[in-house]
């Protein structure tokens, strides 16, 4: 029999959010509600804030609203409530600016790589920012170097492997030099080697990172802090180890750690 899900207040009381660090938040979401037209609420009053250079994982069962939340952070969706990126509230006026500061890496790289060659796609972002040709070229080669795809400007996208596509998709956002990087299921469909490569790249990036993932070991390795989303509500916000080793919390939200994760996982709570 399934355990009844705890009310958000209970969890938050037992696992208070990570202490705020310096200055103003990089991402601040206050009481966000959203429903797709004709459907019931997908996001039901979400509030959290993320500080610059933090790495935060967002985990939760399917249908929790994780991807929908991500689409709010760069203004593709607008809900009720306030979303602030680096102090700027998301609105029609600010959305163009915000999209140069927030890099969103989609789940399926084929959705994100829509031009024909690697160079063209990576240059798309910077060229929309009004940069000069030389600046664009420089950013393209820097971004490709950062993901380990130097010199691939002329390769055709449909010739790339899925791991390479993921890295190029990441490069397309890095070329815009964002302050906040949001990744939706970065390790999906990657073999262990490609996954390891991607994780190394992510570790090397000094930006604020929000990683939506089912890959709990990845969340554990890359993100000190985690948010647990379930049925449109923020159910928990704590350090990743505390969250992942709280078996009851995970089970109550239809999550579980991989079987061989470690002795702590098997400890009785």
């Amino acid at each position: 029999m399934r355990e009844k899900r705890g009310r958000p207040a209970d969890w938050l009381r037992r696992n208070p959010p990570v202490a705020a660090s310096d200055s103003s938040p990089a991402v601040e979401v206050t009481d966000l509600h959203f429903a797709y037209p004709g459907c019931r609420d997908v996001l039901r009053g979400i509030s959290f804030s993320i500080h610059p250079r933090e790495s935060v994982a967002i985990i939760g069962p399917n249908g929790a609203g994780k991807s929908t939340l991500a689409l709010h952070l760069n203004g593709l969706l607008r809900g009720d409530g306030v979303v602030r990126i680096l102090g700027l509230a998301v609105s029609d006026r600010t959305v163009r600016d915000i999209r140069t500061r927030v890099g969103l890496v989609f789940q399926d790289p084929d959705d994100q790589l829509f031009l024909t060659s690697v160079g063209q796609d990576v240059a798309f972002g910077p060229s929309n920012m009004g940069l000069s040709r030389t600046e664009i070229d420089e950013r393209v080669s820097d971004a490709l170097a950062a993901v380990g795809m130097d010199g691939s400007e002329n390769r055709l996208i449909h010739h790339l492997s899925s791991g390479e596509k993921k890295r190029v998709a990441l490069a397309t956002t890095l070329a815009m030099r964002p302050d906040v990087l949001i990744l939706d299921e970065p390790s999906a469909n990657l073999d262990p080697k490609a996954r390891r490569r991607l994780m190394q790249i992510l570790k090397s990036l000094p930006v604020t990172k929000i990683i939506i993932t089912h890959d709990l070991p990845l969340a554990y390795e890359l993100c000190p802090r985690a948010l647990l989303l379930s049925e449109g509500m923020l159910v928990a916000d704590s350090t990743t180890p505390e969250m992942l080793f709280d078996q009851r919390l995970l089970a109550a939200n239809d999550l579980e750690l991989p079987y061989a994760f470690g002795p702590q996982a098997r400890a009785e709570v």
């Binding site: 593709l76 999209r99 927030v102 829509f114 031009l115 798309f124 449909h158």
Partner: protein, 262 residues
Amino acid sequence: MRREATQPARFLPRAAVVDSAIHRLDPRVKVVAILTLILAIVSTPREAAWAFVAYAAILVLLVAIARLPLKHVFRRLLVVLPVIVLVAVVLPLYGAMRQGNPDPTSVVAGADLLLLWNVAAKSLLATLSVVLLASTTTVPDILSAFERLRVPATLVLILSFMFRYVFVLAEEARRMHIAIEARGYGRHRLGRIPALARLAGALFLRSHNRGERVYEAMLSRGFNGRIRVSTDSKLHLADTLFVGSLVVVALAIRLMATVAWR
């Protein structure tokens, strides 16, 4: 700066990546030159057989300079053969019908043989020209040439996206097809039709959804309504010489053909 040799149009086998002087030409001059050549070929009066020989010589020369594998070229030319064969087969019947005499064994008139020659020569040479273009120029380059030659930008972009996603869709269709086959079609061979049609319907929905997601991805990276797929590359001496000489020669042959047969 000289362009690097790159993967030519997608249907060349990957192992046969070739580089040549032709590959390295600016795509704009290649498109203009080949189009002029094709127009000259199809408008040349069919009686001027020597003109077609001249055109063929030019094309063979270019194919050689481009170092294209002959097997590849011949395979591409096969596309146009069925039509020529069809015309050849129907010709006696056609000639007879025209003369009002329904006897297909009567001798084929010279006029009708000229018809066969006309379509055969022109379609073969024109196809060879297109093969030359497609095999020495990557698709992004062809599209870039279109954009700079003032083809409407929206259409060029649609072509670009279409080229990009055709393979993705083909792969999705292949996977769906395998899933259908694994479940069996039903006893009748025609039972495949509803299954395939439903596959196509599903493919349409996926394409539409993907189109929406791609739009979101474009917005996320600051899409403001215009994309350029081309760069501001400049023409080199080799480019100008190539297009200049080819256009002049093609037009010269064409004019001489008209004059000689007026």
